[in-house]
Each structure stands twice: as C-alpha cells, then as structure tokens.
C-alpha cells in the first residue's frame, strides 16, 4: 500500500491508482453520525437494504439476514427509508 502521506515525488503519475479494488482499505465508517440498526424479529430477509445501499455495506450472514458493515456504512439512511418491513432504524452510534 502507498504511503498515506506521500511527498509529491512519491505520488503516482497523475494520481493514478494502479491497484484495482483497493478502496476496501479505505474505511469510511467514521463519517456517520447515525447508524442503521436492524430489528431481526421483523426482518423479512428481502435484501432491499443490500440492493439500495450505495456503499455495498450490507453483507448477508449464514441465516440469510443482511447486516450493515459499520466500517463502511456512512450512515446515509437510505436502507431505513427503503426497508419494506420498517425494521431498520437510524440510531446514534454513541449513546451518552
């Protein structure tokens, strides 16, 4: 991986990212203020949240539930709006 604070002489030509797929190394989860919380008692496992998530942050688990990966979820709330079972609520990540 490239030095995260490169000198200008160390930067790749024209800021090209020569290595494909390395955006997974860049965790954007700390951008959010509200995090989606899935109530699995009401979840119908339809995958709407997974389809709509602009960050591909939902992952399917072994029981068929879709869970947000908080390392990448930016907290946009689209999943909570789109969920047909209304089982996703946006909650403060840090409760005081």
């Amino acid at each position: 991986m490239m030095n995260p604070k490169p000198k200008w002489t160390e930067l790749t030509f024209a800021c090209i990212i020569p290595e494909p797929g390395n955006s997974v190394e860049y965790k954007t989860g700390d951008w959010k203020t509200l995090a989606p919380v899935v109530d699995k008692k009401r979840c119908i496992k339809c995958g709407t949240c997974y389809i709509f998530c602009p960050e591909y942050a939902y992952e399917k688990d072994e029981y068929g539930y879709f869970n947000p990966n908080y390392d990448y979820c930016k907290g946009c709330g689209i999943c909570a709006v789109e969920c047909p079972a209304s089982c996703i609520t946006m909650e403060e990540e840090v409760k005081e």
Binding site: K5, P6, W8, T9, L11, A14, C15, I16, I17, P20
Partner: protein, 392 residues
Amino acid sequence: MAKRVGMEVSIAIAEAARQANVDVVSAYPITPQTHIVEHLASLVADGELDAEYITVESEHTAMSACVGAAAAGARVFTSTSSQGLALMHEILYLAPSLRTPVVMALANRALSGPISIWNDHSDVMGQRDTGWISIFANNGQEAYDLTLMAFKIGEHPDVLLPVMVNFDGFILTHVIEPLYMFEDEELEGYLPPFEYKYKLDTDNPMTLGPVGLPDVYTEAKKQQDVAIRNSRKVIDEVLKEFGENFGRKYNPIEHYKSDDADIILLTQGSVTEAAEVAVDALREQGKKVGIVELRLWRPFPFQDLIDALVNAKCVVVLDRCISFGGQAGPVLSEVRSALYHEPKRPMVVGCVAGLGGRDISLENYIEMFEIGENFLKTGKEPEIVKIVGLRE
C-alpha cells in the same frame, strides 16, 4: 518535396490533424473555427482519415470526450473559439491534471458581451491557469507547423500534457495564404504512434481521476506544476528538430530588430508581423525600435524573456485583452513581474488594442512606440488602461 499551395488556413490546420493521423476528433462548431472541424468531418466521412469523429451537443462534452479518448490511448484533436473555450473551462483543468495530451487548435476570438465573433485574445487569457501548454502562431504557416509539433510535444513521455495552438480568428483562419504543406511521405516517422503507458485498459485495471483528499491534493498540484515547467526541455527540442529537418525555425521568444532597440513592442500572434512594418518605418527615421514576440505563453519562458528585454530602455506590452480593474492586460502583468527581480530592467508600460476585431493600423503601432518614448521622456505612466485606437 513540400509544395507551396494557396490554402485557407483553417483547412491547412485540419490537414495537419489528418497528417498527424489522429484517432479521435471531438469538437463543436463555432465561428471562426468551424471550417477546421467541418473539414475534418468530411475527411472522416469520405474515408480519407481513419478516425472517430464524435459529434457532441456542446464544447463541454467535446472536451470531456477528448479527455476520455486520450486516457484510452488515442491521439486526440479538437478545435474551438471564444464562448466554446469558455464552456470547456471546467474540463480544461482535467486534461493536464489527468495528463492526457489533447491537442487543441484555438482560433482566438473575443468573448461576450457585447457579442463578438471577431478576433482578440480574451478567450485564451481566461484559460491561462488551466495548465495547458499554450503557444502562439502569427501566420498560417506557423499555425500548420505548430499543430503538427503540438502532438509531438504533448505526447512526449516526459510531457504528457495537453497543448493549445493559438492563431487569430478570421485574420488567419479565413485567409487563403501561400504555405508549404508537407507531402504525407515527408512526415513519415515524424509522429510515431502514440503509446500511452498509463492508458485505461480493462486487462490492466486502474483508477484515473480519483478524489484527492486534503492529504494528497497539494502534492498532486505540485507534481502537475513541475510537469509543465519540465515540458520546456521537450518544447525546445521539438522546435529545434523541426527547424533542422524542415528549415522553418521556431523559438519560444521571437525577435525583430530588437537587439539594439531602445523601445521594444511586445506582441503575441498575428499582430507581430503587422507591427514589423511600423518598426521598419520608424527605423528609417533613425529610431531604435524593435519587437519581441512572446510565442510560448505556457510554460512562461522567463529567462528567454529577460534576456530579450533587459538591454532595452522601455518595453511596451500590447495586450489583446483587458484585465478589468487590474493592470491593463494579463500579458503586461506577467511581463512586468517577470522582470521585477532584475537589477537592470527596462521600464514597462502597457497598452490594449485590437479588441473584438478592431483593426490595428500602422498609425496605431507607431502610437504604441510613442507611448514608450513619452514614458521614457516623462517617466510618467499613462492612464492604467491605455487603449490604442479608442474613440475619445
């Protein structure tokens, strides 16, 4: 052998793009550039040029298509003027920052308003800081030659930057000029196929044009600035090699009787040759006057300009564009500041003329030298924006 032909300069420029064997042309017609892209569209439609001609709904899209095509490794040409260049503004920054060597023929024209289709340099000056290599032709032959050289400069592995060739709208574009056109065979090998090391390629995926967070943006801009400054070495080589091979010599700074001149008029573009007539007339009266032409606009040829000007007593900078509320024009402010640190430097005064197609007469050029004479005599600068040829 190169034939001397009578040809409309626009057609000659389009022919230069054909002879460069461009892969992609994307452009939107605008006066006075239209004949260039019209001719290229015919060449492609008639099968005389094996290229993609991407028709678009605006110059913004034309430049976007050009940047994309160049990133995919194509040799790319476009042409525009005035409002068209202004509409490209946003994408103009992308070509150099993504290091895509697009070549643009820019038929210089005034900007609205009032609406003007005629020549001045407001369009190119508005895009001064977009990061393009920018060079001026002062006749049709030069526009043709420089268009060919632009590909060689821009695509050089040590450069990889876009190049705009400036030539005055109507004054050059619509004139039938006797010029030497190369036979296609003569140019064989002059422009090797463009092999872009960093091209977009699905077999070797990479990201071009990513977001630059505050952690890297500054470094990216530094890298870009160094790239255009370093391009000067290749520009010099290409100009020199062209002179050696084909006999027509080009320099970043051109001179006309300026070596012993007390007063130098600094010009860009087609006014240079016209002003030479005034120099000859004044020389006959025993006045030591001359011309220095700032051919290379970006990267700015600091040392060449200093060398050309330091022995004069006064330099009169002719701007073809007003910098509203600032110094007379952008060329004046650049020339003045380039000389600022010189222990021995000429006085520098500016004037504006030839806006929106206003002809500059012989008397006007003589008046410009008189501005220099008066400035030397009185030491008093005229009003900040001295417009020569203004009715008042």
